[in-house]
């Protein structure tokens, strides 16, 4: 026992010594992050994520921050220019394609000519075959990509590969510098779809890799490429020295650190050891940040997202809003959009009363609301009550909302507002994942009102109006139409609008649909379009926010 005691005493002494030593070395350690930040041209741009991305693999990734990075690493046939929304950043343009494609008369065949000069980070040249490889890989059943939906409904042969009936997508052919894509039906939103990351050119070695866990690093043909990734820890993106294209590329390395809490990320941006809080900081800090740094001046910026927060009004038989447009209108008058938005924190977005978000389908300004009478400043309880009179059914409604974030408080706002028109709302709070899954199952979707939000996969009104409100796509499960809105008249108009070529006519058709649906039988209570609140360090320069890709990491530079 004496020996054990001596051992304990010696261990204790070593422990105390180590603590003292650590304290002594603490000061230089605190300077450690400064090693990461290089002020010189080139250098390293340090960004931080609270939660890791799902994948870095181009055919698997589907998270917003990941697509933001992919904008810096990928080269695509069509892409969005490195510009702000006001300068046309939301307009899809040829990137590796030499020009806009030649479209057959029936609108079902698109022929692209691939420009020479683009190279992968491993030095190999980009050809039309590399784009076919991407579509083939996206369709592989073994890969089981959750982004295959972006092409499987329109590209000939893609579903066959997904079903294991073929190994290559028959509707896509690459010959020389030509790439032809055959569609099952005319889909003018193809160009916007091709501007999403899954359709970027990939190398032959990646094309042959069907590991469902994806790859962490690979050669890519954009201005940057993924050089290293340790899941849940960090991602390192290096400059593609073989890139000779026109896109900007300033810093040598983009270092993405993963896992710190939003509070710590805020502290690191203030200290300057992190340049950009990629998935934001603690929402309650934004008011102080705006006060300290100003808004849209030096370090704090807000930009609209292609997104909408809405209340889905369940139109299914047996639910309160079935064949009840009067009540749907009344609820649109009754809900206090200002109070609802306020629960998200300072400068969290703008109020709206329309389906399409600003930046999409010709809607240009964030403040461009429909003159449909639905108030965005304050609720009009009096009018709501007069419209609702006699249409409140049982007078009882069930509302589903997430049990975290602003969801519970927003549900209370709705509960209070609807009480004013004689509807008693029972709130059911669920974990967001559970709410999302259950609301998509028609038999389980027993709500009358569902807290909901939707962000665009690509910049085309089809991805909002058809995907969310086309009643012909409603099935027993996997429904995005959580209002279970099924109007024969509007379904036909949606199908018609989907066939119009991109441009003013298409935008006008979708805007008219937006207006008509909201006026005649509102499927939702559109409430707000979220804003991206972007906090960057004093070292962050060359700030460009692309309305689709978000912060342009390729264009970013260090001051």
């Amino acid at each position: 026992m004496e020996k054990r005691l001596w051992f304990s005493i010696v261990s204790a002494a070593i422990g105390v010594g180590l603590i003292i030593a650590a304290s002594a070395t603490a000061a230089p350690s605190a300077q450690h992050p400064a090693k990461v930040v290089k002020a010189a041209a080139g250098g390293t741009l340090v960004t931080e994520l609270n939660s890791d991305v799902d994948y870095t693999d181009p055919q698997l990734t589907y998270y917003v921050p990941s697509w933001e990075m992919q904008y810096a690493t990928a080269c695509k046939l069509m892409n969005y220019p490195d510009k702000e929304a006001s300068q046309g950043g939301g307009e899809v343009q040829p990137e590796v394609a030499a020009a806009f494609p030649i479209v057959s008369k029936d609108g079902k065949t698109y022929t692209f000519t691939v420009k020479p000069g683009f190279k992968f980070s491993d030095g190999s040249a980009v050809t039309s075959a590399n784009f076919k490889m991407a579509i083939d890989r996206l369709s592989q059943p073994k890969l089981a990509s959750s982004t295959s939906f972006l092409g499987s409904d329109i590209i000939v042969g893609m579903q066959d590969v997904l079903d294991g009936k073929a190994s290559s997508v028959s509707g896509v052919t690459a010959k020389g510098n030509k790439l032809a894509i055959k569609l099952t039906h005319a889909a003018p939103d193809l160009l916007a779809r091709l501007a999403t990351p899954p359709f970027q050119a990939i190398t032959a070695s990646l094309a042959g890799n069907h590991d469902p866990a994806g790859v962490n690093t690979y050669a890519s043909c954009g201005p940057y490429y993924y050089a290293a990734r340790t899941p849940n820890r960090s991602i390192k993106i290096h400059r593609n020295t073989c890139y000779k294209g026109p896109r900007p590329h300033h810093v040598d390395t983009i270092q993405v650190n993963v896992g710190n809490s939003p509070d710590v990320i805020y502290q690191n941006v203030v200290k300057g050891t992190t340049d950009y809080a990629e998935d934001g900081v603690t929402p309650t800090l934004y008011a102080g940040i705006a006060q300290k740094y100003g808004v849209n001046k030096k370090q704090f910026f807000t930009r609209p997202e292609l997104e909408i927060d809405y209340l889905a009004l369940n139109h299914d038989p047996g639910r309160l809003f079935h064949n009840n447009p009067q009540l749907a209108k009344a609820v649109n008058y009754a809900v206090d959009r200002h109070a609802y938005l306020a629960q998200r924190g300072f400068l969290a977005g703008v109020r709206t009363n329309r389906i399409l978000p600003p930046g999409m389908g010709g809607v240009t300004k964030a403040t461009e609301v429909l003159k449909n009478g639905y108030p965005i400043k304050a609720p009009n309880a009096k009018k709501a009550k007069s419209i609702a009179g006699g249409h409140t059914g049982s007078g009882k409604a069930e509302m589903w909302a997430p049990n975290s974030g602003p969801g519970p408080l927003q549900a209370q706002v709705v509960q209070y507002n609807l009480k004013q028109i004689g509807v008693d709302v029972t709130i059911k709070l669920l974990p967001r994942a559970q709410q999302f899954v259950t609301a998509r199952n028609r038999a389980q979707a027993t709500y009358d009102i569902n807290w909901s939000a939707w962000g665009a996969d690509y910049n085309d009104p089809f991805d909002f109006i058809n995907i969310l409100l086309d009643g012909t796509s409603i099935g027993p499960s996997a429904n995005n139409n959580d209002a279970y809105y099924d109007s024969a008249k509007f379904n036909a108009q949606m199908h018609k609008a989907a066939l119009i070529a991109p441009g003013a006519n298409r935008n006008a058709a979708y805007q008219a649909l937006d207006k008509a649906m909201m006026a005649e039988d509102p499927p939702w209570v559109p409430i707000l379009n979220r804003a991206n609140r972007l906090f960057v360090s004093s070292h962050f320069g060359c700030f460009i926010y692309n309305p689709v890709a978000e912060v342009d990491l390729a264009a970013a530079c260090k001051k």
Binding site: M1, E2, L5, S11, A12, G15, V16, I19, T25, A26, S29, A30, H32, P33, V36, S51, D54, Y55, Y62, P141, A144, S146, S148, F149, L150, D153, P212, A213, G214, A227, A228, R229, T230, P231, N232, R233, S234, K236, N257, G259, N260, S261, D263, V264, Q267, V270, K271, A433, Q434, F436, V437, T438, N441, Q444, I467, G475, P476, S477, A478, N480
Partner: protein, 323 residues
């Protein structure tokens, strides 16, 4: 001893099966289809069906559980994550050393603090030191770990900027893309998490040691030792501490075992990619294989450390005979 260990191991198997089975059942009682989540928000029913087949969710729950056990026993595999499809073995394997760093470092710290303070408080009851120690105990027990962590982080990591405010550096072989690594950086990055993690336990252990030492000091055999003129240090080490610290060994084993399952709050505050954070992430995303992976690991830690403690207990106190 051998028969005792075998008997405990058999019980451990029963416990292990029960815990993993209960986790499975709870998971499937919650009406959230992981196939829909994994298929992505825009997936059509056919896509969801394909993903369900890929994940093996198109089988019955008992079949899936049987498959899980078979994979675990035959292939030593915990399967793949539903969310990112990474091998759960690798995810748990990467997270476990981080949690172990936190827990073992924290345990050393709390024992280094708790033993001297507890003993001195017991030797001088109602002295200034004793009262100060009790104030510390009260604060340590009543203040949530989250608050302590945030205060330490803000003051030392941000305001005074004398210690890293968060993050983890590997002691050896930092992964690709890491911005730090090596023993010195590992140590400095762990100081605040260790202190945060240790405060609560230090407070509990100080109280426990003080009480045990005071009780033991009142025992007849200790009085006899004093009366025989034995030196103070000898009485304290051979007669008092030896028995006063016996329950501490048991507690230490249990506390370390439980904490190895994930020190959630401390890991979250300081951005440590350990098991606690992994557990929270997988719960939020209904990622059953990862949840099971963390449960299996935590269960094994508890079973093994309990066994070690029992054996150690008998070794320290010859009065205890396991058989």
């Amino acid at each position: 001893m051998g028969r005792y260990v075998v008997r405990r191991l058999l019980w451990a198997v029963v416990l292990f099966v029960a815990v993993t089975m209960i986790t499975y059942v709870i998971f499937f009682v919650i009406p959230a289809d992981p196939a829909v989540l994994a298929a992505g928000r825009s997936a059509r029913p056919a896509d969801v069906a394909r993903v369900r087949h890929y994940l093996g969710l198109d089988h019955s729950v008992p079949y899936q559980y049987g498959l899980f056990l078979k994979r675990l026993i035959v292939d030593q595999s915990l399967g793949r994550s539903f969310v990112n499809r990474r091998a759960v073995n690798s995810m748990v394997g990467q997270a476990a050393p981080v949690t172990a760093s936190l827990v073992f470092g924290g345990a050393i710290l709390w024992m280094l603090l708790a033993i001297p303070i507890g003993v001195l408080s017991a030797l001088r009851p109602r002295s200034l030191l004793d009262r100060a120690a009790m104030v510390f105990v009260l604060i340590g027990i009543s203040m949530p770990v989250v608050v302590i962590g945030l205060i330490l982080q803000y003051v030392f990591g941000f305001k005074w900027n004398v210690l890293p405010n968060a993050g983890y550096c590997d002691v050896i072989n930092p992964p690709l893309g890491a911005t730090c690594g090596g023993p010195a950086e590992w140590f400095t990055h762990m100081i605040l998490p260790w202190v945060t993690f240790a405060i609560l336990f230090t407070a509990i252990y100080v109280r426990m040691i003080r009480s045990n030492v005071m009780d033991t000091l009142g025992e007849d055999y200790v009085r006899t030792a004093w009366a025989k003129g034995a030196p103070g240090a000898r009485v304290m080490t051979r007669h008092v501490l030896r028995y006063a610290l016996l329950p501490v060994v048991t507690m230490l084993g249990m506390d370390i075992a439980i904490a190895l399952g994930g020190a959630i709050f401390t890991e979250y505050i300081f951005g440590l990619p350990g098991l606690g954070r992994l557990a929270v992430q997988s719960l939020m995303s209904f990622d059953l294989p990862t949840i099971e992976g963390v449960v299996v690991f935590a269960t094994l830690c508890i079973i093994i450390l309990n066994l070690v403690v029992d054996v150690l207990y008998a070794f320290i106190d010859p009065r205890i005979r396991l058989e």
